[in-house]
């Protein structure tokens, strides 16, 4: 091929195009000859390359896909595209690399200055060869042009829309044009509509760029377009870079020798000395290593420790007292094994292990990225799918297949009914729809934003399932592992049918398939119909009024807006009606649908992106899997999954490849994770990295044996649990001896079981179970959360029952405080391993948080109910419930002594509580519902009216409406009243609120507005104080006021919150329970009288002991 010099060089590296050459005449460029000889390749350049470059870019290795040995090879360039721009050394990647001394890499022999200069002269001369040929300059073709149109135009003139009838996705469709005729005239850029519109600044329309996430066409892009059209819009058949039948130059067989890239082979089970400890082969492998060090397994843990360990491991909950009794009663052999089987068949199992999997998937009920943090109303289906699949012990290969390519497993589009299988298949694909995703907003939905999301999804897949750090190869070939950059883009191309940055689906509506189980749809439709009827019912009287007006004034029926202006009374009614309609609409439920990932059949081409930059396209690549995991000579083959399918079938082929028994990573990575959750750390400590920078397995033979066994056993995870948990290794004690500390400080040899702390979810679930407040209802939309003004986030529940944490909404912007404190990971995009911290806020939360405190009360009530009034029985029972065992004798005597002392102290405190009401100050005494403070509350104002009379009226204010001035007004008392009649607890405003800090409560304003709505029903009896009492008293000293506050504090059911005297002086107890005076004046005197029930002190004391148990290390840690 002759060098023609006609067009620009497209140096991919910086995406820069040398425009100046566009004007150059189409013949051999004038070359500047420096020195006496014009260098030619064979004579001057080859020797330089041979000395410095062939080691990596020659016969044996072709790093970055570059071979420097011949003209043909030079023409092919590297992953980054062309490396030589004839005539333009400064635009040539090759020259840049040696000139900037990036190449040869550090530590290798660099080129001398004269060699660099020779290279420069050679390229300047057009890169000639002895036979007179040149390295041809790159010829502009569709791969230079169409990507520009995809970036700038196809959103409106492409697959999803063809505005003006125009589709610019292909040369043919551009020629075909739209309503205004062909969009280009070959050879005549100046006559081409496409360019005309761009030049005129009409396209893309500058004022609506953001709506469609498009940037204007850049200057050099216009020039390229023009040049391409001028040249007749040439197309070239560019073969994509895919695995061929020839050996892969980038990944060698030597690379494949690394342990984790070899398929696992089951080693023979070793023979060991301590045969008596061998229950199954796991023990033999572990003992072998221990015996090498002259050690052995630790003694077996006692039965109840084992029960607690196993129950937490498999269900994430403590064993119930009944389970403990049952287990103790079973004295037949293999009682433990039977217990494991029972635990494995518990529905709680899937909730526990589902959580582990959701970490890997990066599960979230919201999109993140933007302040609104859009809720993913249907994401829970995927969560439920995971739980159900694990409970059914769905074989892991099938489990993966469904999650990666569920849409290609069965022809859902043509199915007559949505079978359970199809439903599961589609829901399962939610796996790769979990990354944070803000592309629902135009301004954060540009192509680079989309590429980030695709990258996140691929990261989820490769880290969680494949144990590879393939993400590194997004910008450059992996520095440590044999993962060339093209392998990243080949994988991306497998997913292109589903994740196409050039043809993006909006998360708001584009992520759903319109299917749902029939019964759900029925229920939803009925509900929706009911709401619509309710709305109609509200609207009807309005319409009637409109008609009345028309009749009365003999006019045409005015529309509602007009009538509002005409009749104030109507405006009021209309406003009330609108409010009601809003309230009805708030009860609307999202339509059941499936949030899924599916192949859309027309993937756009994928290019290596140089340095990951979306505007720097290198070589075209096709679909493929990481070469190091194959023999490198087998092309990746795929076909549409069923006859007539629009789907490419790429992901299905990928999933099949991934779950082949011979895949070196899939089974190992999974087995290793299961191991980690049982034994504290993985056999390969770096769970997500099995590459060269990852850890080596501590027990490689064991890992392989397990992996092979796992596959042979039908990829059954439950059988794997059973194998591991029935081993002697698992049944060891967790005690560390001095010998352990010396020999095996980090327990890499498994010389004992690790002591483990509960995860946040396990802790919360356990607290609920122990308190008898755990609602075991599974599945369905998540239960809500509520963020308090001060930042505390709690699970919302009107009942005193709460569901397991996995069923609580998981938003990115608000996380349950208890989980936050106990190391709930941020999904960025997923969590491959949780970290553990030990910090004061954990202690503060367990000690001081109201809900934990309240749970301790339920716990105490339960103990009292089940054990009666005897302190001995109570302590026994409390231990049995919380720890699944009896207290030790020391614990027993300690708990009993504390119980006694606490009872005494409480009795002492309680008897002194009295209230004397002596004058006209208004005192509210409320029943404390600690958990409910701030929840479901409505800000309203209790007022006695200006006349100071006895009647109390209730004024309602939305939080935002209540100004500081109103707050300070005389005769006002601020209160918070629960809107629910059932609770009927009246509470006054929380301490610390004043006009200045008012806004800090705005966060929950919307919730309050809703509450306000429902409160309207109470209007009939506004003067009635729902609960508690109210009294008047006369002024006294400030000291007395403090006394009162103290007295009220003694009884947790009584709290003095706010006092107002006759003059409107307000007194509020501030956080430190001193009295904060808002206005000086007369101070009332109050003394509280309060009788306490006889056994109240003992009950209080028991609650303290229960609270202490919930705070104890014995509770939080699992031996």
């Amino acid at each position: 091929m002759r060098f023609t010099g006609s067009v620009a060089c497209a140096v991919a590296l910086a995406g820069a195009i040398c425009l100046e050459s566009l004007a150059a005449p189409p013949d051999v460029p004038k070359v500047e000859l420096v020195g006496n000889v014009e260098p030619v390749f064979e004579e001057h350049i080859f020797p330089i390359f041979e000395a410095h470059c062939f080691g990596c870019h020659g016969e044996k290795k072709r790093k970055a896909g570059l071979d420097l040995r011949s003209r043909v090879a030079l023409l092919a360039g590297s992953e980054s595209g062309a490396v030589i721009s004839p005539g333009k050394p400064e635009k040539s990647l090759l020259y840049e690399m040696v000139h900037e001394k990036h190449m040869p890499p550090e530590g290798r022999d660099p080129l001398s200055e004269s060699q660099v200069d020779t290279l420069r002269r050679w390229i300047s001369a057009g890169a000639p060869f002895q036979d007179g040929a040149f390295v041809a300059a790159h010829r502009l073709n569709q791969h230079d042009i169409l990507p520009i149109l995809r970036l700038r135009c196809t959103v409106c003139h492409g697959r999803q829309k063809q505005e003006g009838g125009l589709d610019v996705r292909t040369r043919a469709s551009i020629l075909n044009g739209g309503e205004s005729g062909p969009a280009m005239v070959l050879g005549k850029p100046e006559e081409s509509l496409l360019l005309e519109r761009i030049h005129a600044g009409e396209m893309p329309p500058l004022r609506s760029l953001v709506e469609v996430s498009v940037k204007p066409v850049e200057e050099n892009e216009v020039e390229l377009l023009a040049e391409w059209i001028r040249a007749g819009a040439p197309e070239e058949l560019v073969p994509p870079d895919i695995a061929g039948v020839e050996p892969d130059p980038l990944v060698s067989d030597e690379d494949r020798q690394f342990w984790s890239f070899q398929p696992p082979k089951a080693a023979p089970v070793p023979r060991v000395q301590h045969v008596d400890r061998v229950r199954n082969p796991v023990d033999s492998f572990v003992l072998e290593k221990l015996e090498e060090k002259g050690s052995s397994l630790s003694p077996e843990a006692d039965r109840l420790t084992l029960l607690r360990r196993a129950t937490f491991d498999l269900t994430g909950l403590p064993p119930t007292p009944e389970e403990v009794e049952d287990f103790l009663a079973d004295t037949r052999p293999r009682a433990y094994e039977r217990r494991i089987d029972r635990l494995l068949s518990s529905p709680r199992y899937g909730e526990r292990w589902g959580r582990h999997w959701l970490d890997l998937a990066g599960y979230s009920d919201s999109e993140g990225g933007q302040e609104v943090d859009r809720v993913r109303s249907q994401a829970y289906r995927y969560r439920d799918y995971v739980i159900r699949s694990l409970n059914r012990d769905k074989p892991y290969d099938r489990f993966l297949m469904e999650q990666i390519a569920g849409d290609e497993l069965a022809d859902y589009r043509n199915a007559e009914t949505l079978t359970e299988e199809i439903y599961d298949n589609l829901v399962a694909t939610g796996f790769l729809r979990m990354a944070p995703d803000s592309t629902y907003a135009g301004i954060t939905g540009f192509v680079p934003d989309r590429l980030e999301i695709i990258d996140d999804e691929l990261e989820v897949l490769t880290s969680a399932v494949m144990g590879l750090t393939l993400r590194c190869s997004r910008c450059h070939s992996h520095k440590f592992d044999p993962l060339p950059q093209r392998d990243y883009y080949r994988l991306a191309d497998i997913f292109k049918g589903a994740f196409d940055e050039n043809d993006w689906l909006d998360p708001k509506k584009g992520r759903y398939l319109p299917y749902a189980p029939a019964n759900e749809l029925r229920v939803w439709k009925a509900h929706d119909k009911k709401l619509r009827a309710e709305i109609e019912a509200v609207k009807a009287p309005l319409a009637k009024k409109q008609e009345e007006y028309a009749r009365k004034h003999a006019e045409k029926k005015p529309d509602a807006e007009a009538l509002k202006k005409l009749e104030p009374a109507f405006a009021e009614v209309a406003k009330a009606a609108e409010k009601k309609i809003q309230a009805i609409k708030a009860r609307k439920k999202p339509k059941p649908r499936i949030r899924a990932l599916w192949d859309r059949g027309e993937p756009t081409p994928t290019y290596n992106l140089i340095r990951g930059d979306y505007q720097s396209r290198g070589r075209l690549v096709g679909p493929g899997v990481p070469a190091v995991l194959t023999d490198g000579k087998t092309p990746f083959e795929y076909e549409p999954p069923f006859p007539g399918a629009t789907s490419t079938g790429r992901r299905l082929a990928f999933a099949r490849w991934l779950t082949e028994p011979q895949n070196p990573l899939t089974a190992r990575v999974r087995v290793n994770r299961v191991w980690k959750h049982h034994f504290g750390s993985g056999i390969v400590a770096t769970l997500d990295n099995f590459g060269t920078t990852g850890a080596r397995p501590t027990h490689p033979e064991l890992l392989d044996w397990l992996a092979v066994e796992f596959v042979r056993d039908g990829w059954s995870i439950k059988r794997l649990h059973r194998l591991l948990m029935t081993s002697s290794t698992y049944r060891q004690s967790a005690e560390i001896t001095a010998a352990h500390a010396e020999l095996d400080p980090e327990n890499r040899l498994l010389s004992r079981m690790p002591l483990r702390r509960m995860e946040g979810e396990t802790l919360r679930d356990s607290l609920l179970q122990v308190a008898g407040r755990l609602d075991l209802t599974p599945f369905g939309p998540p239960d809500g959360i509520r963020a308090r003004g001060d930042g505390l986030v709690l699970a919302a529940s009107d009942e005193k029952l709460w569901r397991r944490t996995i069923y609580i909404q998981q938003r990115r912007t608000a996380r349950l405080t208890i989980l936050d404190n106990f190391d709930l990971p941020r999904m960025s995009p997923n969590c491959v391993e949780r970290r553990e911290s030990i910090v004061a806020p954990q202690a503060l939360h367990l000690l001081n948080n109201n809900r934990v405190h309240e749970l301790s009360r339920y716990f105490a009530e339960r103990v009292w109910r089940e054990a009666g009034a005897s302190p001995e029985a109570q302590v026994e029972r409390a231990y049995r419930i919380a720890l699944g065992r009896e207290p030790t004798s020391e614990e027993r005597s300690l708990a009993l002594a504390s119980l006694e002392e606490l009872t005494r102290d409480w009795a002492d405190k309680v008897s002194s509580v009295r209230v004397d009401v002596e004058a006209k100050v208004h005192l509210w005494i409320r029943e404390v519902r600690p958990d409910a403070v701030y929840e479901n509350d409505l800000i309203s104002v209790w007022s006695r009216g200006r006349d100071g009379g006895r009647r109390w009226g209730l004024l309602e204010f939305d939080v935002g409406d209540l100004s500081a001035a109103e707050w300070k007004a005389a005769h006002l008392e601020l209160g918070i009243v629960s809107p629910s009649r059932a609770k009927q607890s009246a509470r006054l405003i929380p301490p610390g609120i004043s006009g200045a800090t008012w806004n800090s409560y705005q966060a929950t304003k919307s919730a309050r507005s809703v509450a306000l709505e429902s409160f309207g029903r109470l209007e009939a009896e506004p003067t009635e104080v729902p609960v508690g009492s109210y009294a008047e008293t006369s002024p006294a000293s400030e000291r007395d006021l403090k006394l009162l506050a103290d007295a009220a504090r003694m009884d947790s059911r009584i709290a003095l919150v706010l006092i107002a005297d006759e003059d409107g002086t307000l007194y509020a107890r501030d956080w430190d329970d001193g009295i904060e005076k808002h206005k000086h004046g007369n101070v009332p005197r109050l003394v509280v009288h309060k009788e306490m029930p006889r056994d109240e002190a003992a009950r209080r004391a028991l609650q303290n002991v229960c609270h202490a148990l919930m705070n104890s290390a014995a509770f939080l840690y699992i031996d």
Binding site: K215, T686, A695, A741, R835, S837, A895
Partner: protein, 491 residues
């Protein structure tokens, strides 16, 4: 009257001959399992020999123990005054006569791709305020910042910072975490991971958020991302209880609370006695003791009543326009005095986001912050704290030279203004420049990662060596982007 007994831990918990609890860390570091714990603690920070064939699990128990920086630090603490919303560079610190000259001329077509709301974009718009030079440095400051204008000889003004995204959420993520995506550790989290806390009774990283409400992105502005949550920012409120769960939310006589704490402590020691070599258990007992101390320390640090009335007044406490900001600036000083590493002060929502009625909006923001900030600088200086405290001011991006609607300005990622003071930066320096209409930085450009690298550098941390192992990658604040310590602004 505190709900928690004001007694020392010594009194609060019965003594036990096995442990001297007050010196727990001393105990473990010299104790029998010192080796195990040190290896747990020291692993994934700084150590360069952890990869390769013998890489060990990077799991460790994370805490806030003080750690040495990489090199001698210039600053021990940072106060970051976060100006959320995107303060307008050409109306505050970067006067542009060209804008006056070309007021009303069309400019949109040249920058169409850089406008968030193109349908509202107008023509070039001049600054509504007067500028003057101040101090011996002659730094230009707009008339709406009269108090800061008196402090210019203590600050380095950077006019040439740029970021990569022109939308609040991603730009805020970028400013805080170096990347535009959610879920990543913030600068403060990196600093507390890198350096730990000097004051063991207080968190290393404290956030003073606005009582009026959270900023955009909410608590994600101070998250720890993939770093363990122990490194995330702790919100201290300026009124009410300073810290979530700091004090019981329920009513209980303090003697009862004392008895219960005592029971917990004894139970834990019994539990631990059988597991003497488990380092976590000792650390957990220590965390309960720290919790008790924190209750006192946090209340003390945040008790503004301890300040002289003149001091409070000087900051602007009680002044309607700036009371809350003044309180927080004063609190920030009290916190850095006590060794807190990183203090951030936020504004609610994004007051600097002046899409409409720019002049009024800017004046309001200035009135909220100008006096407290200037007094904070002076107060730190007077107390000799400015040398060891780096004060950083800035938002997430700048604004456009064209109008939005009638009299607002839209977002601009190509030029933003920020300043630093104290802690090793030059005084009275104006660094970098924008083009003639302040649309884009053109001279001495600083990227967000340069800015991060420079701040870390001032704290004695090398951004290349401060990493955390994750997914086989060494994650860094500056990521894979090239970052440069801006040496020119350092003393």
């Amino acid at each position: 009257m505190a709900l928690i007994p004001k007694v020392s831990p010594q009194e609060n918990y019965p003594s036990n001959e096995t442990f001297d609890r007050r010196n727990f860390f001393q105990y473990v570091s010299g104790g029998v399992y010192a080796a195990a714990l040190t290896s747990l603690l020291g692993r994934d920070l700084f150590s360069g020999d952890d990869t390769g064939a013998n890489a060990s699990p990077s799991r460790r128990v994370h805490d806030l123990e003080p750690r040495s920086p990489h090199f001698e630090p210039r600053a021990k603490s940072i106060i970051h005054l976060v100006q959320n919303g995107g303060p307008s560079q050409m109306d505050l610190f970067d006067p542009k006569p060209e804008l006056d000259k070309n007021h009303g001329k069309s400019f949109f077509e040249k920058i169409a791709g850089e406008v968030e709301r193109p349908n509202k974009a107008g023509a070039l718009m001049r600054c509504p305020f007067k500028f003057a030079q101040h101090g011996s440095s002659g730094m230009w400051v707009s008339e709406i910042l009269p108090e800061l204008a008196k402090c210019v000889d203590d600050i380095t003004l950077i006019r040439s910072m740029q970021t990569t995204n022109l939308t609040h959420e991603p730009a805020l993520f970028k400013i805080h975490s170096g990347q535009t995506l959610p879920g990543l550790p913030t600068l403060g989290a990196w600093v507390s991971y890198g350096l730990g806390s000097v004051n063991r009774d207080l968190p290393a990283y404290v956030v003073l958020d606005d009582p009026r409400g959270l900023p955009i992105n909410g608590t994600q502005n101070w998250q720890s991302g993939f770093l363990p949550p122990v490194y995330q920012g702790t919100r201290f409120r300026s009124r009410g209880s300073p810290l979530l769960d700091l004090k019981p939310e329920f009513e209980e006589p303090r003697s009862i609370t004392g008895l219960e704490r005592d029971l917990i402590s004894r139970l834990d020691r019994l539990h631990q006695r059988k597991r003497l070599l488990q380092p976590e258990l000792g650390a957990r007992i220590a965390s309960y003791e720290l919790a008790a101390r924190m209750q006192l320390a946090a209340s003390d640090a945040l008790d503004l009543a301890q300040e002289k009335p003149q001091t409070r007044e000087m900051y602007g406490v009680g002044k309607e326009s700036c009371d809350s900001y003044a309180r927080r600036c004063l609190l920030a000083r009290r916190l850095v005095e006590r060794g807190v590493r990183f203090v951030q002060i936020f504004l609610d929502g994004q007051p600097w986001d002046n899409h409409g009625d720019l002049a009024r909006g800017l004046k309001k923001c200035a009135a909220r912050t100008d006096q407290p900030i200037a007094v904070l600088l002076r107060d730190l200086k007077r107390r000799g704290l400015l040398d060891s405290t780096l004060v950083v001011w800035g938002g997430e991006f700048g604004r456009l030279p064209i109008s939005e609607g009638v009299n607002g300005r839209d977002h601009n990622k190509n030029a933003m203004v920020t300043w630093m003071a104290g802690g090793g930066v030059k005084a009275g320096l104006t660094y970098g420049a924008t083009n003639e209409v302040a649309f884009a930085a053109v001279e001495n450009k600083i990227t967000v990662q340069d800015w991060h690298a420079t701040i870390l550098h001032l704290l004695g941390l090398d951004h290349e060596r401060l990493f955390y192992e994750r997914n086989g990658l060494r994650e860094k604040l500056t990521g894979v982007l090239e970052a440069r310590v801006v040496k020119e602004i350092l003393v």
